[in-house]
């Protein structure tokens, strides 16, 4: 290395470090100042709302009894679809002791209290644990039925992933998948980081999105038929 370039390095490197440090500090300060709009934007990216009637089924996904069946009942009353489909989830120990209703029983009760008659309720076959299972169960349910459009009803932060998973698993069936968000009771996109529950829910969703995408690339049976060659 000649003396000129060595001198230039000696001149440039400390200044580059200083500029980088200042840049980082400014970015952090701006991030802190603009944290609320940033956090709201992060939450809104996850929410999809393209529900539109008339649909054949409102499909209420499991895991959010405080919100999802209530939102589904409101859509039913608004005439978005004439039928509501629910899933049966694995029972836990408290349910096993008879101290709490099963998932299916609870959803049915809420839907009926909220104005959905028993004759408008259907149950997808099998017991499910997660969104993939629900999508597979729905596929089995839909195969023999002439259904053109369904509206998935799920928590706001789950809508984007749910629509993607269900569209993937229902590939090949002539059914259009739409989603409707059910808003949480204690938080929403504008304040989720202020409660433990909200902070966990949105973090989990941002972790699950890439993990589901990676899983979809693996040669596992997600319920969809093999793509045509």
């Amino acid at each position: 290395m000649n003396p000129n370039s060595r001198a230039r390095r000696r001149f440039l490197i400390p200044r580059l470090r200083t500029v980088t440090a200042i840049g980082l500090a400014v970015a952090l300060a701006l991030g802190y100042i603009a944290r609320e709009p940033l956090l709201i934007r992060l939450a809104r990216i996850l929410t999809v709302d393209d529900a539109e009637g008339p649909a054949d089924y409102l499909v209420v996904l499991g895991g959010g009894a405080e919100t999802r069946p209530f939102a589904a009942a409101a859509l039913y009353r608004a005439g978005v679809a004439p039928k509501v489909l629910v899933f049966e989830h694995e029972a836990d120990r408290i349910t096993g002791l008879g101290l709490a209703p099963t998932h299916d029983e609870l959803y049915r009760k809420i839907l009926q209290i909220e104005g959905v008659p028993a004759r408008a309720l259907d149950r997808a076959p099998g017991v499910v644990r997660n969104s993939w299972d629900e999508a597979r169960a729905l596929r089995r349910f839909l195969v023999a039925r002439p259904v053109r459009r369904i509206v998935l009803v799920t928590s706001a932060e789950h809508t984007r992933r749910a629509r993607w998973v269900f569209r993937k698993v229902l590939t090949g069936l002539p059914v259009e998948v739409r989603v409707a968000p059910a808003r949480h009771w204690r938080f929403d996109e504008t304040n989720w980081w202020k409660s433990d529950e909200g902070a966990l829910v949105y973090l989990h969703e941002y972790l699950k999105l890439p993990s589901y995408w990676i899983m979809s690339l693996l040669p596992l049976d997600h319920g969809a038929p093999a793509p045509a060659r």
């Binding site: 002791l97 209290i113 433990d196």
Partner: protein
């Protein structure tokens, strides 16, 4: 070199990671057992076991803010469900005390506990909680107690599937401790 050390001592390191979130104290007879609404599969059963082994003569539960489903009468309030678990496990009804009203969190529960124990002088309380949540809960309870003369003895209960020595072999173990550290960090930022 670092990779070799991590590989050789991974079990000790990962056990230490879990142990930070779990804060066990020496188990000694106490005035009451405070039972937190953590894992329903394990915590109430462990609390009933401590009662049967005569570590305390009273089990204490908080009356929490009703959820939407509880308010509609579709689910029983948590304290009622857990009370029934205790009774099914052999705890007599008169040994179960309910404290507070419409409690939001463990800080509120700490305040209600201070009121419940206000008539007594120095008291010792065994807090039965899930292992991974015991540090966070202890911190919140202490804030609620605000200097009241109550000695908290934490009794962390491992989940059914794993404990501090095996959590990394289970998918749920990673999720559980990831959540615990994340909440710990989020609360640090908030406070």
């Amino acid at each position: 070199m670092a990779i070799v050390v991590l590989g050789a001592f991974h079990a000790q390191i990962l056990t230490g990671v879990a142990a930070f979130m779990s804060v066990p104290d020496r188990l000694e007879p106490a005035d009451v057992l405070l039972v937190l609404y953590h894992e329903g599969h394990t915590v109430p059963f462990a609390a009933a076991g401590l009662y049967r082994r005569r570590y305390a003569s009273q089990l204490v539960l908080g009356r929490m803010q009703a959820t939407r489903l509880e308010a509609l009468g579709l689910l029983q309030p948590r304290h009622e469900v857990w009370r029934k678990v205790f009774e099914a496990e052999g705890v007599p009804p008169e040994a179960i005390a309910l404290i507070g009203h419409r409690l939001e969190d463990d800080v509120d529960l700490g305040r209600a506990l201070a009121v419940h124990l206000a008539q007594r002088a120095k008291t010792r309380v065994i807090v039965v909680a899930s292992a991974q949540a015991s540090r966070l809960s202890r911190d919140d309870l202490r804030r609620g107690l605000a200097g009241a003369p109550v000695e908290l003895r934490m009794y962390p209960v491992a989940l059914r599937e794993f404990d501090e020595h095996t959590w990394w072999k289970h998918r749920r173990g990673w999720l559980t401790y990831f959540d615990a550290y994340y909440l710990w960090f989020v609360r640090l930022l908030r406070h």
